[in-house]
Subunit: 523 residues, 2 copies
């Protein structure tokens, strides 16, 4: 899967005024010092037990004298994003060699059992949360400069000397986030699984809410626009940090390609800079995010100021259709939709365009730009008609995609969300989908979210709730404290990166159960 | 080889006044910023070539874009002891993963080719000068907190990402020492080898002269008293930093076991503390070091103040002889002499005792403590007579050691240095030694130094110079910039640690050619 689509020669333009507005909305991070709650042993399968070889609780850590090869695994009780400090000492004879130890951080227990030397995936092994550290003189307070995302932290004494042992006197984590869990009331339900699902969603969202809405605090700290859309929706139902959404909108609008195209993601360090990756669906999502923000906040000034940027994406991408108003598929990684290998994205992309154009038209209406409303409505009508004429298959009662007329979940889901079919027809599509179970399924929680939303949109609330219990509930049954970047109920170890050791287990696009539960089911 | 002799329950006593005097003599380290002079490739055998794959000189470093697996090896032109700073940047798309790189420092070229994962020796692998570093945000100035001893520094890009490459913009080393090479004139000779031998000695000594006389700046930064003796002698002929010797004498005398026994070594961090290792010869050497210091400086106050400590070592260790005035050998690592495996140390230890008692007697004479002079002269007489009666073997014309009557270099050398035999007999012993070449040879430059001194003492100056050219000259022929902890001309890769990767290549006890040349040969 070609996951890199770079326009390395792109020319960037900056709207300084927009960037200033983004800067003004930068959050002051809240901090909380957290200590390990248990010392644990983790089995190869990820099963976790109290470590009986050491004296019980973290308070007794200093009694444990670590010689060459000894290790201690600390459990911080919940997923943390933060900065770790170790207080170390030595015992025995004077320290006649450097302390040399490995730190290994894991978001989930199973991650702690993976052997990083064996990693051979295609994304950087630099993402493996592991440090090799020498300390020449003990006692020492080691303040690690990097931020980690983890629940478990293992310290392995790679070597001491025959004459002295390493002592871990105290370990703490300064956990950071733009928001506070205590500011959100739990959902009102007796159903333990739903309560937990909400909490895990909230924690996921909280730990991704940093200087921007991050994608995943372990591995990809960038701001991705596809994820931002879902995070913003979950945030509106929970933390209600509107400034963070505003900041992100202004960042995307303020840092574009010279033709005004919004990037798929952007970096905030060492300076604000938009990446050279562009995705069809991600650029288009600017309009829905802007509309959602306006509908939640009533902030018309922002709506007005950023509307040209939203419209510009449609303007730039409407050229990707042929004379029959059908999406022309580009080579490679041009549109995200889902990680499903071999997925034909024509139909889903066509639907995403319609979905976004509908929202753009709504903004134009609010701003009383009637020419644009008209233009966009024609655009929507043309694309809907083409979808029904060329992609709808009467025989199967499903949408097809591409020249191979591939049938996938993604195509059906996005055609429903784009309202290409009405509620009743949508319901029939989803039922046929369930019966047929096409080979091209869904990999990411992102796609599963849209599947769930499609069910809700078709009035299948009961089925949607069951599906949530099956899908996100499945991660909870596997011990998730935060929801994962990837989860395939039929193969939980699956990774698009060649190894699950670099998977992210606290990931923006997985945080939506709290949104779905609070918006559609509970209050 | 049991190289650990710990008295872990020892009670330490501190003479605060002495420690204060040591503290008052603490040097202010001189600093010099050094940059790499070349980019090189090093072959498995240690042969070094200019690296033609990169653009020549270090000034062109920024033009080299390092992707996953790329490495650059920098040559700093000479052995450095110091603190390294790296200026790093990225090129290509924005940096979408941490920079993950390995730094490898080597004192000699061959060290750079060794594979640290294969190290399986008995001393701590923490000594291998290697760091694994993640940098999340580039550009960055990475100021490494540890001190390294090296000439070569390799940077290996373990991983970047397919989208960006690592750029090393500048690397510098803040080299430190208590003394300055420029303060010493070169030796007056046309012999290129001797000039080089002197320079390499000086650099060795300089790089070991830090807050104390270190043993080896790479691996063992402690102050060892056996090494101190030779360093002080070399220092008197060159840098003439008397305060550093005074500081070390006061440290040993101020930090002892509760019975007044001087330790074999001591640490200065995290606080001044004497180690729990005790060696027969090393404790006794306090007296010769004190006498040498006095003879060089005329500092009678120090002589007087530290004399009780010197005398106390003799007092404590005279109990190690039997009723025949013969050394009783203890188990294990009780006396250093040399690393030679299976070396019987009885004769050499007996001789070291005599050697040290002679110097103690001389101090007693200077201080007009006539009772002690008398007592020590009796002690010397008894031990010399016992050596000749029981250890001298008329048949071979050599000294034997232990119940197996082992013949070794060490026994002969120390009996000569202790003046148990006169010059003429000593010469015969050395000639017989050369003819016989006993199996128990010499491993350390420390032992080779004493062998050379024994030759000089016996009037064999020419042979001594030839030997120096053979022995220390051998290291120079192998490319040494500083003299090594260990060098066996017949097996240069030998290590007492199970692997040469942890050998120290700038080592205190190897610095003596400058002393020998300047004192006995050149001026």
């Amino acid at each position: 899967m070609a996951a890199v689509s770079s326009d390395i020669n792109m020319v960037r333009v900056t709207n300084e005024e927009f960037v200033k507005k983004a800067r003004d909305c930068e959050p002051v991070l809240l901090e909380k010092t957290v200590y390990p709650s248990h010392i644990v042993k983790i089995e190869k399968n990820g099963k976790t037990y109290p470590d009986v070889s050491v004296t019980g609780t973290p308070e007794d850590l200093p009694d444990h004298h670590m010689k060459k090869g000894d290790s201690i695994c600390m459990d911080f009780g919940d997923h943390q994003v933060g900065y770790v400090t170790l207080k170390l000492a030595s015992t025995g004879s004077p320290q006649d060699s450097p302390a040399y130890f490995r730190l290994k951080f894991g978001e989930i227990a199973k991650e702690m059992t993976e052997v990083s030397e064996e990693y051979d995936g295609w994304i950087s092994r630099g993402w493996i949360q592991e440090e090799f550290i020498h300390v020449d003189v003990l006692p020492a307070v080691v303040v690690l400069p990097r931020r980690y995302a983890f629940r478990y932290l293992e310290i392995l004494a790679i070597d001491t000397s025959p004459k002295w042992q390493l002592v871990v006197e105290e370990v703490s984590c300064r956990s950071v986030s733009a928001v506070d869990m205590e500011s959100v009331l739990p959902v009102n339900t007796e159903d333990e699984l739903l309560r937990r699902m909400d909490q895990v969603s909230l924690r996921t969202l909280q730990n991704c809410m940093q200087s921007v809405f991050e994608d995943g605090p372990k591995r990809d700290r960038r701001l991705w626009i596809g994820d931002l859309r879902l995070q913003a929706l979950a945030n509106y139902e929970t933390f209600k940090n509107y400034d963070l959404v505003k900041r992100c909108l202004y960042l995307f609008a303020g840092l574009t390609r010279d033709d005004g195209r919004v990037g798929a993601c952007l970096f905030i360090e060492p300076e604000y800079i938009v990446d050279d990756t562009f995705l069809f669906d991600y650029s288009l999502f600017f309009a829905p995010i802007l509309l959602d923000y306006y509908e939640e906040t009533g902030d018309k000034e922002t709506l007005k100021e950023l509307w040209p940027c939203a419209y510009r994406q449609i303007e730039l991408l409407k050229g990707m259709f042929d004379e029959n108003n059908l999406m022309v598929c580009a080579e490679g990684f041009w549109c995200f939709i889902d990680w499903t290998e071999g997925l034909d994205k024509q139909a889903a992309a066509q639907a995403v365009y319609i979905y976004c154009a509908r929202r753009a038209a709504k903004i134009a209406g609010i701003l009383e730009e009637l020419d644009k409303v008209k233009e966009l409505e024609k655009e929507i009508g043309d694309k809907v008609r083409a979808s029904l004429e060329y992609l709808w298959d009467e025989n199967t009662g499903l949408f097809t995609s591409g020249s191979s007329r591939q049938i996938s979940y993604a195509s059906q889901v996005w055609m429903i969300l784009a309202e290409v079919v009405d509620q009743e027809k949508g319901r029939a599509v989803l039922k046929e989908l369930e019966r047929r179970k096409p080979e091209k399924g869904m990999v990411s929680p992102y796609m599963n979210h849209h599947f769930t939303e499609a069910m809700i949109q078709c009035g299948m609330k009961e089925e949607a709730l069951e599906y949530m219990k099956y899908y996100w509930g499945g991660m909870i049954r596997l011990g998730a404290d935060t929801f994962w970047e990837l989860y395939n109920p039929e193969n939980p170890a699956e990774s698009p990166y060649g190894s699950s050791i670099v998977n992210s287990y606290c990931h923006a696009w997985s945080c939506t159960p709290t949104y779905l539960l609070r918006k559609y089911f509970l209050s």
